[in-house]
Subunit: 279 residues, 2 copies
DNA sequence: CAGTGGTCTAGACCACCAC
DNA sequence: TGGTGGTCTAGACCACTGC
């Protein structure tokens, strides 16, 4: 290959050598929209566009880079699915403040954080102000929840729905499902469950969970949830299915967490005592 | 609001009532490309387009739905970032076979799977044939690895790079970093580390890891990794930072896993013995 | 009303693939 | 050579925002 570095061929009509004002040069091999995304991403990270502040408008960027607005739109689209930028209709594209929150699953329940919930601790650790809303409903068990709770599909469940915020910004949805009968016995059918929350009430009646499993998977944001989480279309979310079981390994509660991918870091810690010593 | 359900206004020029052949009707409120993506997604899930088979070509779909090719391209783009579809240049867009692999982190090391590696087990469980490649290099510690291994930036590390496949399809990258000195002592500077792998060799010299932490975060696929993983641009990946520490809580090995989001489900299991009984 | 982004089209050129 | 998808433009209309 002699022409390895083969002349980028300035074909596409827009490598027009305009030089009015601050035009930024875009080369050919990598798609323009990707290169522009790279540049904007870099500017954001360098603080040229501070968190919360708007990017230049699409027509402006279009002029700066000498490409059509559609191309700009596509570049910004990349940053949106990455969670770096959020668009507010009619207003502009804004740099998202993304202090990543770390969730240490294996510490959330054990300590049962006297007085403070796990979310509270996680959020304050990065200097954010936590808040949430809660509501309780009764629903029939879906195939999924029925399977996890080991009851028949359609069985009555109590679902405790919570929405979490950090500095007023939505960060997470968590729906906890319990079999109605158990929820009533434990007295967690009202919004307020008392000190220590649902798990403490379950412990009170001897059904305190001690075995936990979590399954993390991906999905693209589903309409309703995406809307609440202020997510961009197409942005990825973590879905966590959390199952808490009592001493006899009977599942007592299932929680489904939905959280915007880029806002969270998930942490797990554990120890394996080697049974037979080290060989 | 009297006009709550306000007439979708069939404005955009393309609600043209063409009826030649098998044209599928597209309504207005939701973007056309999103609706088309919904339809195609549904067809895939119903098996109309079987795993491994191609979607109809863009011009074909363009005719079917009565929209421009660009719109089709955008619809397919959604399916690509969701991991449902993979495009092979010049050939077409193919339905990705996605048997999701479940990785149970908390079981991977404890059992130290006599004879079989954790990946092997995980993959075969869903009926896939595992394979991998490995190589060993020496690199200076980056800020990240240095911090995690508690050495100076630039210190010499041995990195064991592995690439994993299932049925020949790339699924995961895993790079394990060890301080060179330790790696030499443990004898894991060659590709073959003997039965039980690196951790067993570390155990042999009394540095067997028993404390583990994992941190999961998101990233959009980085060029090189995305290429290897056969990923679509823009598709989300899990990054797992895994730290193994010995009895004295000294970190001995750090592994960075990169895996395509839609191919994996991550599972964790643990037990919290309540120290003071259940109140 | 002007400004923002959201979507869509038609037409174009490109790179890659298979024949 | 003809088919596939990848990218880009220009022009257009839309909805939402704020003045």
């Amino acid at each position: 290959m002699t022409s390895d570095d083969a002349q980028p061929r300035a074909t596409m009509s827009a490598t027009r050598g305009r030089e009015g004002a601050e035009m930024t040069q875009i080369e050919a091999p990598r798609p323009r929209f990707a290169q522009i995304a790279d540049i904007l991403r870099d500017r954001i990270q360098r603080g040229v566009h501070a968190p919360g502040s708007p990017l230049p408008s699409e027509p402006e960027l279009s002029r700066e880079f000498g490409v059509s607005r559609v191309t700009i739109n596509r570049a910004v689209g990349l940053l949106r699915t990455e969670g770096l930028v959020q668009v507010r209709r009619g207003k502009g594209a804004f740099v998202r403040p993304i202090p990543v929150i770390t969730r240490v699953a294996t510490q959330r329940h054990g300590a049962r954080d006297k007085g403070r919930g796990a979310y509270d601790v996680e959020t304050r650790r990065v200097g954010l102000e936590p808040s949430w809303t809660a509501s309780v409903e009764r629903v029939p068990a879906s195939e999924l929840t029925a399977g996890l709770l080991n009851v028949a599909v359609g069985a009555e469940l109590v679902v405790r729905r919570r929405k979490y915020f950090a500095n007023g910004v939505p960060t997470q949805i968590a729906d906890t499902y319990l079999v109605s009968e158990l929820a009533e016995k434990a007295g967690v059918t009202e919004e307020n469950t008392g000190p220590g929350g649902t798990y403490s009430r379950l412990a009170d009646i001897g059904r305190g969970p001690i075995h936990f499993t979590e399954e993390i998977s991906f999905c693209s944001a589903i309409a309703a949830e995406a809307t609440f989480l202020d997510m961009e279309p197409n942005q990825a979310v973590f879905e966590i299915l959390f199952v808490a079981s009592d001493r006899e390994h009977r599942p007592v509660a299932v929680t489904r967490h939905i959280m915007a991918g880029h806002q969270w870091r998930l942490r797990y810690e554990w120890t394996d005592e080697p049974e037979g010593g080290s060989e």
